[in-house]
Symmetry: C2
Subunit: 284 residues, 2 copies
């Protein structure tokens, strides 16, 4: 049986960078008084490894008076950064540079008097962070239809959650054109998502089983699993190798593997080894 | 037989204003040394009336050394305005304020370093005028497909010929989103066009014959005629009442009338009277 790993499976640039920054900060502090605000990335395994190094995950800063706070790849709200600085905590910013761009664009558009529209999932931490940089009106929309109830606006600024699709952005911009005279769009979509999705689509059509690896709290991994499932019914979304079942691979000539942007390489390697072992066991 | 005139048939705001300015300028100068650069509006009859008052239509300014030059409703190029001023001609600007806005937006976008895309008919005088205000790269496109061969651009500014449709603008903006990171759109489409088209569509579906009045060189009149023809095969585009034929109205209970944005009221009135007379003649 052949196991094929998608070329761009796993860590994207921003996640790789954030993870590296977090492990370096943890090592430097010997884990002492080091925290992340929310999980550093949407990978339970990476979070656990950091915890083993003494890095604790905080839900908010209320109880923290000193130490190092690492800002997660998805970013946090402007108020949270301000609070951390006001408490004179040491802030290590691991926000993905592409997310940071989106935050900066919202701040710029808002300060220039634009009503801001953010295309994204309104309860996603990345979107909550981006939205917080608006000083004036701001609306979160998931699609063009969400624009319909909005009032007419003079100047509309639009940015997108970095993991959104181009089709969604086109839909939202088309709707916004009916609402205002000036529309200024910053396309903050990161290519990594569409590249990974296109690869998954292609791979799923060429194999007899697909395994998608990543946290159940990772939106981009869930989307990858949906895409693969549409093409290959024998698709399974797992968080770790312990969830693998031998019957999934019975009679399969080819098994495809992909992983979300926050899935570490060692986890992918582990899954691949375990699948190979499961298939070997069956042979015995 | 009932003759129904569309509510918004004929002169739009910009054409009414330009015609008024031209007749006032002609009257003030007693027609002496007064010119328009191209036809003041796309109505042969209005142009002829102005000619009877001594206002001549020039193709360019090369032969003109003194006098008053009236800038037509569609506007002219920046170079032509500059040439007129350099020759110390008296410039009477009858450019439609909505077209002027589009010219100003192109100038602003271009000076701020945007590559400019103008949605419009590349050989229409309005578009030629708008485009001339770009100091950097500028592309005229008729639809989204025209964007495909363009290179990647960093910042894209988009404006539209005032008579374009919202669907065309949405199509072009969607395509432009794949070409650059920042897209800044000024929606310079004038509602008058869509209002007149929607009325024509409605009227054509309720009558037994449609008459569309306006110059054959008027793009918006031709578009009106096309729209009506799709719904009512007994549709006729005429420039004046002399072209009316009695058989068009044989057996008709209702006749609908609409007219392009540059068709004067007296021309519409004349057509309506003539249709009534033709039908009366038949009865005798």
């Amino acid at each position: 049986m052949e196991i094929i790993l998608a070329k761009h499976a796993g860590f994207c640039f921003g996640v790789k960078r954030a993870t590296q920054i977090a492990f370096e900060a943890a090592a430097a502090a010997n884990g002492d008084g080091t925290y992340t605000l929310g999980p550093i990335i949407h990978s339970p395994q990476v979070v656990r490894r950091l915890e083993e190094m003494g890095v604790k995950v905080l839900r908010d800063l209320s109880s923290l008076e000193k130490g190092t706070i690492i800002i997660r790849s998805h970013g946090v709200t402007e108020a949270e950064i301000s609070a951390a600085l006001a408490k004179e905590l040491r802030v290590v910013d691991a926000t993905c540079p592409f997310v940071k761009k989106a935050q900066e664009y919202v701040k710029e558009l808002s300060s220039q008097g634009y009503d801001v529209i953010v295309l994204g999932d309104h309860d996603h931490p990345e979107v909550e962070g981006i939205v917080s940089y608006a000083s004036g009106n701001v609306h979160v929309v998931a699609c063009g239809r969400d624009i319909d109830p909005l009032p007419k606006m003079k100047r509309i600024g639009i940015v997108a959650q970095t993991t959104q699709s181009m089709e969604h952005l086109q839909d939202v911009v088309s709707a916004a054109l009916t609402k205002g005279t000036e529309i200024r769009v910053y396309n903050t979509i990161c290519d990594a998502t569409s590249v990974r999705q296109n690869e998954a689509r292609d791979l799923a059509s060429r194999v007899d089983a697909m395994v998608v690896i990543g946290g159940y709290n990772s939106a981009n991994t869930r989307r990858l699993a949906e895409i693969c499932l549409e093409i290959q019914p024998n698709t399974h979304h797992i968080e770790s190798d312990e969830q693998l079942c031998a019957p999934w691979f019975a009679g399969c000539a080819k098994v495809g593997i992909t992983a979300g942007a926050s899935t570490p390489k060692w986890l992918i390697d582990g899954v691949m080894e375990r699948i190979a072992a499961l298939v070997e066991d069956k042979k015995d």
